[in-house]
């Protein structure tokens, strides 16, 4: 028998943390509006459609996630509530500040979304509960954004601990550490399986049929059965719940396989010209995203549709795939293809509400093998696009744009309740009485 099998002789136990901002969009709105500290707030999706973020005060008024604004508006405003259009310039800047603060306090960070990040704390000495509290305090001091911190031996468990920290904010002070097996078992047994990271509504129903109702049930389920009946992903989730880390911290997100730009128009459009403007705008934006990740695409899919809910309006939805002559990231070529596609699918007599431009068949520039006889994107094209991106980076998005893209479109998004971009535009800074 070997001598080194004793306790503590194994590899260091892995430790992960999930840091998550509370009602992030609403919290951002509050940073520069101290008068709203206790006012119920909701932030609305693009076009002021439905609720995408709400404070606990709004929750207490019975406002649910995803509720259409027009349905709740009257009652919410009567109760003293305040709504904002999505102000992504502000949220993006505040997110960067939050992540910068956390980055300075942990050994490794994976920014998972605009308002949450995984940290790896493996090997960190000292009291991790205190570290969690330090992270919360520092983020709050530097940005005014409240957060919750979950700590556990795998990413899935860290996420679950975070759920508990949020759920029992008062009792926990916003930090929950479930490395201790006893605490973990208690939390797993008390958590519905639908709250586990990666288990969606459909999976919850299917798992229910197998009598897997809580996180503890999933952790205890047979791994092989899960893999056979569901997927290897769910098998990993179950292992993670048992405290066996299967997911590592991701550094950079891998380049996307598809790029989509799709938006509702601010009002219904009937004629072709404004729809052309919208499609060209979305194509230009999608091409920018394409170049930003260093990819080229071979196909462009353009689609348009009418509103789907108004029973009195005739409905219409159609899309078409357009081939490019060669893999390209040139705004001009992609826009041209998208507009040609639009000409094919447009029919007069409908009230169109949305257009979408989807770039498909992506590969990294230089990754594909050229057909010796096939045409390829000319070098001049790359140079023109480099200038376009450089100009727009320096003087703001849309400074240089295709002629068909209008500077201030009549069909633009409805954003009637937008706050100022307090931190990113010198003309819209916060003003303080002196």
């Amino acid at each position: 028998m070997s001598a080194c099998a004793g306790r503590g002789a194994t590899v260091a136990d892995r430790v992960f943390a999930l840091i998550d901002c509370n009602a992030f969009y609403c919290s951002c709105e509050r940073v520069f509006r101290p008068d709203l500290a206790r006012v119920p707030i909701v932030v609305l999706s693009n076009n002021d459609g439905c609720v995408v973020s709400r404070t606990s005060e709004a929750k207490a008024l019975g406002i649910k996630m995803g509720e259409p604004w027009f349905q709740i508006r009257k009652a919410f405003e009567a109760a003293g509530g305040m709504a904002f259009s999505s102000n992504y310039a502000l949220y993006g800047d505040m997110s960067e500040r939050v992540m910068t603060v956390i980055e300075g306090l942990v050994p490794a960070l994976e920014v998972y979304s605009i308002d949450e990040a995984f940290a790896e704390l493996t090997g960190v000495l000292g009291d991790l509960d205190a570290l969690g509290r330090e992270i919360r305090a520092q983020v709050l001091a530097c940005t005014g954004i409240p957060t919750g911190v979950g700590i556990g031996p795998s990413k899935t468990l860290a996420k679950l601990a975070n759920y508990a920290a949020k759920r029992w904010q008062k009792q926990t002070g916003g930090v929950v550490d479930i490395r201790d097996p006893e605490r973990r078992a208690k939390l797993l047994a008390a958590t519905p399986v639908g709250e586990v990271w990666g288990v969606g509504r459909r999976l919850t129903a299917r798992l229910g049929e197998l009598n897997i109702k809580t996180a503890a049930d999933l952790a205890a389920a047979d791994a092989w059965t899960l893999r056979k009946q569901f997927s290897v992903v769910l098998e990993k989730t179950a292992r993670e719940l048992r405290g066996i880390p299967c997911l590592e911290l991701d550094g950079e997100a891998p380049p996307k396989q598809e790029i989509c730009c799709s938006r509702m128009f601010g009002k219904r459009l009937h004629e072709l010209p404004p729809i052309r403007e919208a499609v060209a705008t979305y194509a230009a934006r999608a091409s920018e995203k394409l170049r930003a990740q260093g990819s080229v695409c071979k196909r462009v899919r353009v689609s348009i549709r009418t509103g789907m809910f108004n029973p009195d309006e005739p409905k219409f939805a159609r899309g078409v795939m357009c081939e490019l002559p060669y893999p390209s990231d040139d705004t001009r070529l992609i826009t041209h293809a998208a507009l040609a596609g639009l000409e094919q699918i447009y029919r007069p007599g409908f009230a169109f509400s949305k257009a979408e431009v989807l770039l498909l068949d992506l590969c990294q520039r230089g990754e594909y093998t050229d057909d010796l006889f096939a045409p390829t994107q000319p070098e001049a094209s790359r140079q023109v696009m480099a200038v376009l991106d450089a100009v727009n980076a320096k003087w703001g998005r849309g400074t240089l744009r295709p002629g068909v893209v209008p500077p201030a479109p009549g069909w633009g998004m409805k954003r009637e309740m937008m706050s100022r971009s307090y931190t990113t535009d010198v003309d819209a800074l916060w003003s303080v009485g002196g």
């Binding site: 509006r33 500290a37 520092q138 001091a141 916060w430 303080v432 002196g434």
Partner: protein
Amino acid sequence: MASVSILGPVATGGAEIPYFLPSVPAGFPSPAQDHIEQRISLDELFGLHRPQIYLARVGGDSLQGLGILDGDLVLIDKAAKARRGDVVIACVNGEPLLKIMGGDQHQVILLSANPKYAPRYVLEAEDFQVWGVYVGLCRQGRHCG
């Protein structure tokens, strides 16, 4: 009597001037060439890259005695601990004000630096918080930007 010779207008705009401008005598390498490191960055100087630093625009002349004028941009450190005597953004009942924080541990008094304005006593029932501490000033001159 001192004499003045007029050389003509100073050229404006155009070329960026590096921190060290080497003169380059023919045939002899400039000793300054190796020392050009970077241009001065106001962002760096003011610490604008730090997550706790915010810019705000001053509206009003209550701090003109300190040289903080109406329309100035002020740099605010949100994380700094405020001490008596600091200029702070104080939020009284939700309204942000740039004032000098005075008083003692029993009583907060917000002071101005302009005889036009009386001290503002913060009452116990009022909602008061310090949003951040004033740490710097930017003022744009004519023709700037």
